[in-house]
Structure formats: structure tokens, C-alpha cells
Amino acid sequence: MSCAATVYHTDNINSVHVCVRELLVLIHDINFLFLSVPTTPHHDCEDEEESEKEKKVTAKTRRGNARGRARKDSEEEEETRTAGQRRQRNRRAQRKQAGNEDSDSDSESCKNKKNRANQISKQQEPNEDGEDDNKGGRKGRGKNETKQEKKPDEKGKKEEDNKTKKDKKKKGSSSSDSDSEEEPITEEELAKLKEEVEEKKKLIATLRNKPWQMKKKLDVLKEAQLFVEKFEGALGKGKGKKFYAYKVMMTKKWMKFQRDFENFKTACIPWEMKIKEIESNKISSAVVRVCILYFWVLVLCFELSTFIIFWLQVLMGKPYGTLPRKTVPRAEERTAMNFATLWDFSGLAQYSVLFYGYYNNQRTIGWLKFRLPLSYFLVGVGTIAYSYMVVIRTMARNANEEGGGDDTSFNFSWKMFTSWDYLIGNPETADNKFASITTSFKEAIVEEQENRKEENIHLTRFLRVLANFLALCTLAGSGYLIYFVVRRSQKFALEGLDNYGWWERNEVNMVMSLLGMFCPTLFDVISSLENYHPRIALRWQLGRIFALFLGNLYTFIIALMDEINLKLEEEKIVKYNMTIWEASLYNGTIPENATAPPIHVDPADVPRGPCWETMVGQEFVRLTISDTMTTYITIIIGDFLRAVFVRFFNYCWCWDLEYGFPSYSEFDISGNVLGLIFNQGMIWMGSFYAPGLPAINVFRLHTSMYLQCWAVMCCNVPHERVFKASRSNNFYMAMLLFILFLSTLPAVYTIVSIPPSFDCGPFSGKTRMFEVISETLENDFPSWFGKVFSYASNPGLILPFILLMVLSIYYLNATSKSYKEANLDLKKKLQSVRMP
């Protein structure tokens, strides 16, 4: 495992190096290209090419079919190194003597000349040119031989075209020995040649898709590459020759860079090894991958947001202790560093970068004149927008893939050909899989044989109605419980929290977490009444848990709103008190209307106004932490301890623990995925008020990933009934989108309608938070911009725009519906053609 890890890490670093190096080489080549002198005479450039060819020939002689001939060629070239044009004639003459590659080699050498003349810019790539030009001569014959047998007919014909073309060229160029600039290549030949080169390029790109053996593919690849190299230069004739060569080179480099970047990206997926291990050993490959995708997206997404404001504030803002809002007030100082206070996220943690209240409302900070309030606002809005985009893009992509394959037709074909899971590597899992396949075959056969009448359709319906009723009751009960608990906590807060123990203080969070732990199992039990197909049962289950969490979250938010209102009222009182306090400072030392020297007061002594934003942030952070704790405890107790209990007490227990109740636990797909989604929803809600929350969440995701992996490997058994979970992929994404929408609602509401606290945060002093934008427009942009903006935000302009968007949505919806119908029609026609 460590060996693999080192390979992974070194490869990771290597990929980064390669990527960066590619970029640098790219940039270097661009510069060099534009600096290169275009008037180098042919002789000199031929000189250079020759010498380079020699070097390359010796380096790469191990490849290719005709090794002997390579050495011979290099020797010939060494001899003919002296003069300019004579070199060409000599070489051609020697080649004529050398073998029967007459026409090809002649035209090859002519082509070589042309290539060199045209590819002045390619001096920076001596490798490929030099080698391939030379090898072109050698390969010409090899090409002709192998082409006939291997390539499909059309290409064979093209090759013959090529040959005749080469003959023509040879005749044409033999007359123009000395002057290789004007070639008699006509326009149509050029076009044909271009076509062929394009085709060869396409062949290279699709080569990996061909079901040939590797050796054959290698040969075809080499030939195609040679061909493309050789004739590409010739194509860049005339006006745009330099540009064309440049374009070709850039395309090549870009493709190489892209490939390296792909490698780098795959190396970046964390825990790739762990996932593969789990997949092969246990179960639920598709869902594990889904989870991992989530982790990845979320981690990535939020690293971004935290970094910008978080670190800028740390680096550039005034440090702790200099401003009143950044200091722990005198009254709380005594307990500021206690663990209990810190765990509660008050005390020192409250007056830190983690929360909204720490940020100063100065318009610009630091020597960079960084606009902190503006950036805070924009980053908050931007992350939400980015999240929307990512989720919707993923959904669209998944929708494309899922398109084909409806469940009902060709049922048996699907079962026969696609039931085996090729990722299974464990014999135990394989046995399970065999059993489940057999069961599913037998079931399918039986179902086909007799139209299974619903034995008792009324009973089933009654049971289902009963189950739904019970579920509704549970939901209502949990909603009321939370409401009750929140009211109680408000009562506690009013009476002062110090009077109560730990349970009372954390009651809300604990109740929510406990509900989240027990209600899903309750729903599971209820759903056994219903007797649905597992996939449908899963969806019902998910739907109910979804409703549960949603209800909880929204009750929580309503409770928060009450507290916010309380704090706002408190603010008015504090404001009044502050004016009195300030007056008392200057008591008797100032004559009226005189500017007094500012009296220095220690920041800790300044009376502080309440800060509802920080309070909201704190609540969310506490909720996240308690959620994390609940998850860990559930895993440890529910999986690990249970497994230990079953394993060790099995000997001395009345019934078989391993097969009956409780047995080992299976990996709970739906619970975990929902937990992830709701965790993300909370982060989205809270991150505006607690910028450090995403960072905390990243840390939590990392640790819980490792914990889960260990739990799965150690305590879980593969599922008994295995079904295609991947089709639910879009379902999860849809839920994520819905949660995203619901999470942004409260945040947006508070931004738009509640005034920010006067004493803390980057927006303090303004009437509404979004005023920071109008302030920026006034101060930082030229005046005409403000005018333009005010025209653009005129309702008379905005309303027609909204109307236009609604109309376009309607139109797109209509066209997509019609496409779907056309699709279905075609499918039906296809079926009827196949089975007349």
C-alpha cells in the first residue's frame, strides 16, 4: 500500500512537472518562433537539418523495420555533407544505387527539401523532422508493403493515389533541382494532400478504439505519424506557410499538454487507491464513486471560497486585539480560553477569523487597497452561483448518458449480458453475486411464465396507505419536537445559560442529530410493510428522510429568526448605552465644539453591540460539529461495536446472531448519501456568516472518509440484493440541486431584508448589506458607468428581459419535448424493423 502510495505521489509530482514544463516549452516556442529570422538561405538550413538528422538517426536506429538501411543512410549522408545542392543529387544517386526504392526515395528527398524550406519555423523541433524525413525514405517501401494487407480498401486506394502523386512530383522536381522554392504542386493536389493528412490524423485519434492487436496498432500508428509529419510541411505553402506551420506545432503541443493535464487530473482524485480496494472487495461500486465525486466537488468548491477572504483578512487586516470588534470583551476574558467555551465556539473562537464579526468594515485594507467588504459580498454570491453551475452541468451530463436503455424491453438480454460486475475480486462477494444472479433469473422466468396475479391487491394497498400514514406521523412528530426544543432553549437563553448543565445548552443540536439517527431506521421498518421493488423502496425511503431533514432544518431556521429579532432589539438599547458611555469618557474634559485628543481605551473595555450574524454563524458551526460527532458515533457503535458483539457473543447466544438479528451491517447507501447532501446544505447556508465553516468541513470530510473506508472494509458485509444503483445518480444530483436552492433562500432573505449589526462585520454601518455594491459603483468606477448601470437596472428594462427569458425557456422546453417524441418514434420503428 505504501509502495503504491509512493508511486502515486511521485507520479503526481511528475505529472505536475510535466504539465508545467510543457507550458513553459510552449511559451518558449512561441517566443522563439516570432523572433526567428525568416531569411536563412536554404543551404544553411539544409546543413543544419542534415547534421541534426545524423544525430537523430544514430539515436533512434533501434526503431523501425529497416534498421540496416538507417545505418547505411547515415553513412551516405556523412559523405555528402560538403556542398549544397550537390548533396541532394549525390544522395539521390546513391539511393538509386542502394535499392529499389526509386520513385519513393526520389520524391522523398524532394519532399525533404520542400519540407526543410517550408518548415524554417520547425527548427526548434529538430527531433521529429530530422528523424522522420530520413526515415521517410526508409519507410516508404515498408509502407507500401504493409499497406496493402492491413489498411481497409479506401485507404489503400488513397495510398496508390499518393504514389502516383509522388511520381508526378519526382518528374516535376527533377527538373528544378537547384531551385526548390517553386514546386509544381497544383491546388487540387494540395487539397487532396490536405485531406489525406486530415484523415491520417483522424485515424491516429481513433486508433485506440479499433479492436486490433497492439502490435498492429503500433505499426499503423507509426506509419500514420510519419505520413503526417512528412506531408504536413508541404501543405503550408504560399502565403500562410509560416502561420500554418506554427498552427500545426501549436496543435501538437496543445494536445500533448491536454494529455498530461488529464493524467494530472486523474492523479488528483484523492483516495483513488482506497476506492479501488473497496470496490473490488466489497460492494456498491457506483455509489462509492458517487460519494467520492461529491467529496471531490465539495472540497474543491470550498477551498476556493475560504482562501480568498480568509487569508486576505489574516494577512492584510489588522490583527487580533487592535480593534474592539476583534477583541474578547473584558467580561468574557476570564473564560475565553477554556476548552468548554472554545468547544462551544464562543470566547476566543468567536472573535476570530472564523466568524463574520471579526471582519472590519474599512473600505480598503492593506497596501493593495483590497476592497474587503465588496469582496466578501462577491465571494459569497459567487460561490453559490458556481455551485449552481457545477451541479446543473453534472446533471446535464448524467442525463445524456442515461438516455438509452429503458428497463422493460429486452429484459432478458440485459440480464444475461450485463449482470456480472467485473469489479468483483473477492471470492466471497463472487459467491454472493452468483446467488443473486441465479435468484434474479429464476424470478424473471417465473414472472414470465405466469402473469402473476396480485394475490391480494387490497391488502397491499391498505398496507401501503398505512405505511404512508405512519411515516407522516413520524415527520409531524419530529417537527413538533424540534419546535418545542427550540422554544425551550430560547427560554433558557433568556434566563442565562450558566444555570443549566451541558444537556440544556446543547439540547437543540443533540435532538436534531438523534432524530437524524433514529428516524431513518424507523422509516426502514415502515417500508418493509410496503413491499416495493428495492429501487422504488429506496426512493421512497430517500424521499421521507429528505422531508425529515428539511423539516428539521427549516424549524431550526425559524427559531434562528426569532433570535435574530431579539438581537436586533437589543442593538437599539446598546446603541443608546454607548452614547452615554462615550460621553462619560470625555466627562468634563472637553469644551464644546473643540477637537479633543482621542482618549486611548483598551479595546477590550469598549462595550460591544450584539452581533446576530456571528450568532447565526456560531449556530451553524455548532450544528455541523454535532452532526459530525453523531456520524462518527453512529459508525463506531452501529457498525464496529455491533460487529464485535455479533462476532464474539455468537458462541454464547441462543440464536444465531450472524444470520438473524442483528447480524453484520450493510453499508447504508441512502443514509450516507443523504447525510452528505444535508451536510452540504448546511455549509451553504452557514458559509456566508462563518467563512471558516467550509475549512472546518473540509477537515471533517477528510477524517470521515478515512473512518468510513476503514468501517466498510472491517465491519460491513456485501449487500444481499444487488441492484443498479447508478441510475439513481441523477436523482441524487437533483436532490443536491434542490437543497442548494433551499439553502440559498434563507441567506438571501437575510442579506436583503435584515439590517446588518452596527458594531461588527464588514457591512456594519450600512442599512442593507447589498449597498456595498452601489457604494463601489459610486466610488471606484468612472461616473458614466454609474449612469449606464442605473439605466440598465431600470425596471422598464429588467421586466422585458425576464419576459424574454421565460419565453425562451418555454420554447426550449417545447423543442426538447418534440425531440423526445421523435426519438421514441424512431425507436419503435427500429424495433418493428428488427422483429417483423
Binding site: 508511486v7 485506440r208 500508428l221 473490488s280 467485473y422 471470492p427 452468483f434 444472479i437 441465479t438
Partner: protein, 167 residues
């Protein structure tokens, strides 16, 4: 084992990347796993060696697979037909089974794997063998004769004997 990375020449690595659906790391990993199957002396000339089928089947990924024999046979390029695989065959196999391979090439090879008698068609005998492989080796899991008949009957109702192309 870090030395195995240096044994695969860079240009060859580039070509393999071009010709398969694998990334560079995956090719290097495949190289490592393949060289573990060879004895120490043979590791020097890894590209020319063929590994016998019995050794390939010890790989954990293939061990539990019911189609392991067919897979080895389909991807092997040995003239004796003994199912031994060279490194390039191994890479081919990994490329086809990888996530990024297109469905065309996957379906092509799937057809060849399921075609137990190599006659280019999937007929009744092939299907029987296929179902038996899927339901495992044990007696209790196998389908009975009548069940098998029924299954194949239903399947063939869906389509007639299939040839390579429409698959």
C-alpha cells in the same frame, strides 16, 4: 519496485498512451503488476515475454470472474492458442476494461468473450454456457434443464440468432 518505471522507455510509454484508454499512471501500474508475474530473470526483457494463462489467472481481479478463461483466450495473441499473454495483450485487456473505453470497443470484445465457440455468432450453445457461467459452479445454484430452456426461449424471442454486427 520503483525501478520498474525506468524500464519502460518514454517514447513507448507515449505510444501506449496514444493507443489505449489508459493514463500514464495506469500503464506504469500495469507494468509493475505484469512484471510481478514474471520471475526475476525474465523481468529484464518484459516486453518480449509471454506469461502463461495459469499465472494470469492468479491475479485477484480475474480470480473470481466467471469468464476468466474466455477473457484470456480472446486477448491473447499467441499462435498456440494456449491463452498466454504478452505485456501488450495485457495492456489491451486493461484498456478495453477501463472506464474510459467507448461502448463500441467494449461491445466488440464482449461479443467475442461470450462467443464460446468462436464462430462469430451467439447461438444456443453459447447462451447455455453463458448462463452456466453466470450462475456459478455449485450445483445448488445452477438452473435446471427446464429453467434453462425457458430462459433461452424467452431470450430468443427478443431477437434471432445474433451476429457480430448488430450486437
Amino acid at each position: 519496485m520503483g525501478g520498474s518505471a525506468s524500464q519502460l522507455p518514454r517514447d513507448l510509454l507515449g505510444e501506449y498512451q496514444e493507443l489505449t484508454f489508459l493514463t500514464k499512471q495506469e500503464i506504469l501500474l500495469a507494468h509493475k503488476r505484469f512484471s510481478e508475474l514474471l520471475s526475476k530473470e525474465e523481468r529484464e526483457s518484459i516486453l518480449q515475454k509471454r506469461v502463461p494463462k495459469s499465472k494470469i489467472l492468479t491475479l485477484p481481479e480475474l480470480r473470481a470472474n466467471p469468464f476468466r478463461d474466455r477473457i484470456c483466450r480472446v486477448f491473447s495473441t499467441s499462435e498456440d492458442g494456449d491463452g498466454s499473454m504478452s505485456f501488450e495483450d495485457f495492456l489491451d485487456m486493461l484498456s478495453v476494461f477501463s472506464d474510459s473505453a467507448t461502448s463500441e470497443i467494449k461491445s466488440h470484445y464482449a461479443f467475442r468473450i461470450f462467443d464460446f465457440d468462436d464462430d462469430g455468432t451467439l447461438d444456443r450453445k453459447d447462451l447455455e454456457k453463458l448462463v452456466n457461467c453466470l450462475t456459478g459452479e455449485g450445483d445448488e445454484t445452477r438452473l435446471s434443464e427446464s429453467e434453462m430452456d425457458q430462459l433461452i426461449q424467452n431470450f430468443l424471442q427478443d431477437r434471432a440468432v445474433m451476429a457480430l454486427r448488430p450486437f
